[in-house]
């Protein structure tokens, strides 16, 4: 009979102001970086005609993928009826919206013509998976918004289950769509593969849950509300499972590619002699972001602290993973004349050079700030967070 009381965060406390201030400053700096890049043009970034998507896209894709994963907790609670997760459903929905908004903000602000955003929303090429994504993303906002509403307004209770299932399906489709942005690129050897879709789903589960765990722990520590340690370790074990799934699909991705003769070169590039990309792949993505956290999370004496640490590692590893997929995949030269040695004034036949520039990185970090701001404002003005997550 115990009621979960949801309560707004108290605004204007010192901690709240500090966090708010910090987020605003970061967002403002990102804004300045955008103005600079847009004014100068993209030549001031590290992006070129060879590596056309750079650091902003790494951030954006990471955030978008994490967004769909952040909805996990709500789905587990409502679609799969796991009660311990139900009180966190609202935060899960809010965080999903926030991360997606942060990611999209980065994506949009990196466009060559951000002033034509309205064009993007009024002109659709339905053959383009990208255009579908525009619809999937807007739909995600609408559906998760409605889902949140059904969680928060008792009069909408009747629609709760329906909204939950729709949101769950939608976000699977959404991640599939995001993965397919790459999967359908037959031009690029590193991408063109159907395994991209499930890989992205596994990634989303892991990154999203890691982000969620960090936000929950931060919010509860910051507002002085109690959390049961069992809840944290329980989420931690789930995170370990998702890490394993992610690693599994990474293995499938590379093993199938190795099997195809024409992919040998690109696989060798990523796995063996790609320099920074190889290092990021084995060192950060696989070891630091996959194996180590799994070891921590499945260990018998996982604590709040170690779970937090593992979640941070998963985030870092995930970031490296997106970086390797995105930038590594583009840096590897296009193969116009298979089997031939080529050279030109247009970087044919050479590994594309890409070095992130400061404004790009600032813009990307700004995406996290936007997500943070939305979460903070949402949890301050709406009843998102349970008063207590203590076990009773």
């Amino acid at each position: 009979m115990k009621r979960i009381t949801f309560r707004e965060l108290t605004p204007m406390t010192t901690g709240w102001l500090a966090l708010m201030g910090a987020l605003l400053v970061v967002a403002a700096i990102a804004g300045a970086a955008v103005l600079y890049m847009e004014h100068q043009g993209h030549w001031v970034t590290g992006m070129t005609n060879q590596v056309v998507w750079g650091t902003p896209h790494v951030f954006a894709i990471f955030l978008i993928v994490a967004a769909s994963g952040a909805l996990n907790v709500a789905s587990i609670g409502s679609v799969f009826g796991r009660e311990p997760y139900q009180p966190l459903g609202r935060l899960s929905g809010l965080l999903a919206i926030a991360l997606l908004a942060g990611g999209l903000a980065v994506l949009v602000l990196d466009l060559g013509r951000p002033d034509r955003l309205i064009v993007a929303m009024t002109h659709f090429n339905f053959k383009s998976i990208f255009a579908w994504n525009v619809i999937l993303y807007s739909g995600f906002f609408a559906i998760v918004g409605a889902y949140l509403w059904t969680m928060m307004d008792w009069k909408m209770k009747g629609y709760y289950k329906g909204a939950a299932v729709t949101a769950f399906v939608w976000r699977l489709v959404l991640t599939t769509g995001t993965g397919s942005i790459f999967g359908f690129l037959m031009a690029r050897d590193a991408y063109n593969s159907a395994v991209m879709a499930p890989l992205f789903i596994a990634m989303s589960f892991a990154f999203g849950l890691a982000a969620f765990i960090l936000v929950v722990m931060g919010a509860y520590a910051g507002s002085g509300r109690p959390v049961a340690p069992e809840l944290v370790t329980r989420m931690g074990r789930l995170l370990g499972l998702f890490c394993a799934a992610n690693l599994y699909f990474v293995a499938v991705q590379h093993l199938t590619a190795l099997y195809m003769a024409d992919r040998g070169a690109v696989e060798a590039f990523i796995l063996a002699d790609g320099g920074i990309y190889t290092l990021l792949f084995w060192g950060v993505q696989v070891a630091l972001g996959g194996l180590v956290p799994m070891a921590i999370l499945f260990s018998k004496n996982a604590t709040r602290c170690t779970v937090r640490f593992a979640a941070i590692l998963v985030m870092i590893g995930g970031f490296a993973q997106v970086y390797v997929i995105l930038i590594g995949g583009q840096a590897f030269p296009l193969n116009l004349f298979p089997g031939m040695e080529v050279s030109s004034s247009f970087q044919d036949g050479v590994v594309g050079t890409y070095a992130p520039s400061l404004p790009e990185v600032l813009l990307g970090i700004g995406g996290f700030a936007v997500a943070g701001l939305i979460t903070l404002v949402g949890a301050t003005f709406l009843r998102i967070l349970p008063d207590s997550l203590a076990a009773d």
Binding site: V52, L117, V119, H123, E341
Partner: protein
């Protein structure tokens, strides 16, 4: 435009198509379309490039393109715009080397068009693939998708544009097959420039017209398309590689 004139012009266009078979002898010289008529699916413009005639030291076509389209560089090769480039191809097995001009291949099934979210990348009825820069948002997905690396992004503000090729910061652009010249009945600038060097390595013509020189040569002589395996159906053919 009033209704009557438009209809008249369309009639004119239809007439031109009907007339086409009768004009075999001069078909290699593309006809200027009547003003007001639309590009027609009865045409499929393309190029045939004979790498044997092309010389690795020559950049006349590249230069002509720059002039025609008003492309100014900033000495930043990684970000400067190139509609056409010379690719030096060497067979490591045999040591055979070619110098190949590569531009947008005006694919029959262009991946750039498929992926473009707004429909800015598009294929005209006559097969010319263009970027409608009025609705291009600069997302660069088309550049990701093009297997030929044919597209460039305008990385900075542009000045001194040519009337015929409006271009500006933040949009993606590529070879237009000199659509403005074709529409006016002329050949692409690179084709003319190559002819002017005396090498005449590039042949322009209408692949849909079986009697065009282009069609006849393609039918008679061996030619290849770059990455034909991808099934994009380029309208640019090469001989000698």
């Amino acid at each position: 435009m009033t209704e009557t004139t438009r209809r008249d012009l369309l009639k004119g266009a239809a007439g031109a198509v009907v007339l086409a078979p009768g004009l075999t002898l001069i078909a290699a010289k593309a006809q200027a379309r009547a003003p007001g008529s639309a590009a027609s699916a009865a045409n499929r413009f393309g190029l045939l490039i004979d790498t044997g005639k092309c010389d690795s030291g020559c950049t006349a076509c590249v230069d002509a393109c720059k002039t025609e389209m008003g492309l100014t560089g900033h000495d930043r090769p990684a970000t400067d715009v190139q509609y056409i480039r010379k690719v030096n191809v060497k067979d490591p097995a045999t040591g055979a080397a070619h110098s190949v001009p590569v531009m947008c291949q005006h694919c029959a099934k262009p991946p750039c068009v498929d992926v473009c979210p707004t429909g800015a990348s598009m294929k005209r009825a006559d097969g010319i693939v263009l970027v409608d820069r009025h609705i291009c948002i600069g997302c660069r997905y088309c550049m990701m998708a093009c297997p030929y690396k044919a597209r460039s992004f305008a990385h900075e503000d542009q000045t001194n544009q040519r009337e015929a090729n409006p271009r500006g910061k933040g949009c993606v652009e590529a070879c237009t097959l000199c659509a403005h010249r074709i529409d006016a009945g002329a050949k692409p600038a690179c084709v003319e420039a190559c002819a002017a060097t005396g090498k005449a390595a590039i042949l322009f013509g209408d692949l849909a017209d079986p009697n065009s020189e282009l069609s006849r040569r393609v039918a008679a002589e061996a030619s290849t398309r770059i990455r034909a395996d991808l099934g994009t159906g380029p309208a640019v053919r090469y001989q000698g590689i």
